[in-house]
């Protein structure tokens, strides 16, 4: 059984550019959440999606957006990249949005130069 898969695994972008990160949840899981983890910190909640609808949003600027597709996969988009956006971006899937246990992908390491 495939776990949560994220692509790409590593990415280098220049300030001001746009980036799209992708996530495929565990088969049968309908909820996808995105987290940002900067070095030395715990992950910070960005978005939760369930049944293609945004269910929750963390304290991130409007440059961050996401969507969920009919097959429950998800994209995280970040516009006008800043150096401070350099982080590990984690995608988590859970069966339904009410379930607390979430299973994480390996993450996408984004470096903004």
């Amino acid at each position: 059984d495939a776990g949560v898969t994220q692509s790409p695994t590593h990415l280098i972008k220049t300030r001001g550019q746009h980036v799209t990160l992708r996530c495929s949840p565990i088969s049968g899981h309908k909820s996808v959440s995105w987290y940002q983890q900067v070095l030395g910190q715990g992950p910070q909640f960005i978005f939760q999606y369930y049944e293609k609808e945004e269910r929750g949003r963390g304290n991130f600027p409007d440059r961050f957006s996401a969507r969920q597709f009919p097959n429950y996969s998800s994209e995280l988009n970040v516009n006008a990249l800043l150096l401070g956006d350099s982080a590990l971006y984690l995608c988590a899937s859970s069966l339904i949005w009410e379930v607390a246990e979430a299973f994480f992908g390996q993450g996408t390491r984004l470096t903004v130069v």
């Binding site: 715990g42 909640f45 929750g56 984690l90 009410e98």
Partner: protein
Amino acid sequence: DQQVKQNSPSLSVQEGRISILNCDYTNSMFDYFLWYKKYPAEGPTFLISISSIKDKNEDGRFTVFLNKSAKHLSLHIVPSQPGDSAVYFCAATARAGNNRKLIWGLGTSLAVNP
């Protein structure tokens, strides 16, 4: 404002001994607590969880204890093995409207020495 606190950035334990990782929280609305283990270059791996209606949950070598009055939980690993060396994150969650988000501590780096 850190709602979930792991005050020990690192812990070193001898193989075979008990590892105790601690976590404190401030938000009384949290109703579910989880521990994740994270190796470098990998995503967090779910270990064990506990509902706020319980005070103990056990799964093999891992036991989580919850003291609601003290807003404190701990993860016990017995016996500790070198493969347990990783960063351990405590996370908490509360149902908020139509979503559940995990609030994380900063992590404790555990080193189990052979």
